[in-house]
């Protein structure tokens, strides 16, 4: 299918973009890489009145370290972060997750913040933001605000972003020395949407596990270090609490089993990565 007709504006600054959002009303949409929005336009699941293109905004294209975070601008492509020199040492969880994120041919154009804004419950970048406790900066014509991942992520394809607001940056906390990180997922094919995605962080006295693809948004749970049966029990309880559902790809039961089995594996891997 082809998209429904829309006006188009290519902007050169965030200020220009939020001014256009303000005058465009609730049917105005931001486009950056388009890897999430364009399929929705082609299927007519989204029918915006105007598309505001921020893909060429230089001031939104950056990766920088600031105050214990790595901040990524709204026009920064996934491939740019994947190739960033500091990724392995500063963001080891993302380093482990990137091979699972789409394909070479989609990371080249898809943006980090676009994936966060799209908020697909199975996608990896929102899951990593939730597990690491990152933040998102929103800007509108009237001001700026910062939301934590937990505040920003509200459900299936939905965020706390209001009409007139756009995501201008996301901040991923840099890894604490000594912590171990691991990521894995189960999908039908390499690069396909995850049936279940799992991200784990192990510190000296805590284990944190985030699950994508089961509940309607990334869900994170933290425990004191658990071993053996206690860990199995905790994972089983978590799996049931996620309230998974049956769909054409997998049953709820299969999803729970993946949480139990891969959950254990990813936690063990995170622990073994501790230094």
């Amino acid at each position: 299918m082809k998209p429904k007709a829309f006006d188009y504006l290519k902007v050169s600054s965030a200020e220009e973009a939020v001014a256009a959002l303000a005058s465009g009303g609730e049917d105005a949409r931001i486009i950056a890489g388009g890897l999430s929005l364009m399929p929705m336009l082609n299927f007519r699941l989204a029918e915006p009145s105007i598309l505001i293109d921020i893909s060429k905004v230089d001031s939104l294209t950056y990766i920088r370290e600031a105050g214990g975070h790595v901040e990524v601008g709204a026009a920064t492509r996934q491939a740019d972060l994947m190739r960033w020199d500091g990724l392995e040492s500063k963001l080891p969880l993302l380093n482990a997750a990137f091979p699972f994120i789409g394909h070479y041919q989609t990371r080249s154009k898809g943006t980090v913040c676009g994936s966060l804004s799209h908020a697909d419950p199975s996608s990896e970048l929102p899951l990593c933001l939730a597990v690491l406790g990152g933040e998102v900066d929103l800007q509108s014509a009237t001001g700026k605000r910062t939301l934590s991942a937990a505040e920003f992520q509200t459900g299936m394809l939905s965020t706390a972003k209001q009409t007139g607001e756009m995501v201008v940056a996301a901040r991923y906390p840099t890894a604490k020395a000594g912590d171990g990180h691991a990521f894995t997922e189960m999908a039908q094919r390499r690069g396909d949407f995850a049936i279940v995605a799992l991200a784990a962080v192990a510190s000296a006295d805590k284990i944190k596990l985030g699950i994508g693809g089961v509940a309607d948004k990334p869900t994170v749970r933290e425990w004191d270090i658990l071993e053996g049966d206690a860990l199995d029990d905790a994972l089983n309880e978590f799996a049931w609490d996620l309230g998974g559902y049956d769909d054409i790809h997998a049953t709820a039961r299969y999803r729970r089993e993946l949480v139990r089995r891969l959950g254990r594996r990813v936690i063990e891997e995170a622990k073994s990565c501790r230094s």
Partner: protein
């Protein structure tokens, strides 16, 4: 750039395979449709039209992009390369194309131009991929004829013996 009205057709100019070309596009027109219907390129194949199959993959300013997930108006002023750019002006196939031919890297050929364009960009970044890396990269394209076996052989042979 001024705001482009949804009901009007706008002039879009780009450098396509080394030549400046222009055509008309409504804002909603996909780059894949623009190249095919406005310009007359035949290699930008439309398969799924939502970014999954990879048949429409082209290079925009050297970056791999799905033609169906890019708007023609977004490519205004850009440099676009399609599979027509691979062979010489005299129609001599490139070494990569010859390797595909030698190793039966294609059958029906529908997915092939997109794959060749992905490889063109990818092999610049990673000139000697391992088979595993190559298969991972090819997972971004659907081929329902070959099972990828000939294709993988073709690329590995090309990377080993290329003189271009």
């Amino acid at each position: 750039m001024p705001q482009l009205n949804k009901d009007a057709r706008h002039t879009v100019t780009m450098t396509l395979n080394g030549d400046e070309v222009s055509g008309y596009a409504e804002p909603r027109m996909l780059l894949s449709d623009f190249l095919t219907h406005e310009i007359g390129i035949t290699s930008c194949h439309v398969g799924c039209e939502h970014g999954v199959c990879g048949a429409c993959t082209v290079l925009v300013d050297g970056t791999v992009m799905r033609g169906c997930l890019t708007l023609a108006v977004q490519a205004e002023g850009s440099t676009v390369e399609t599979a027509e750019n691979l062979a010489s002006d005299e129609g001599e196939l490139s070494e990569l194309q010859l390797a595909f031919k030698k190793h039966h890297g294609l059958q029906c050929g529908y997915c092939t131009p997109g794959i060749l364009m992905s490889l063109t960009a990818y092999l610049k970044e990673n000139p000697k991929p391992t088979e595993e890396e190559l298969r991972d990269m090819l997972s971004g394209h659907l081929c329902r004829c070959t099972g990828y076996v000939g294709m993988v052989r073709a690329v590995l042979d090309y990377c080993e013996n290329r003189t271009d």
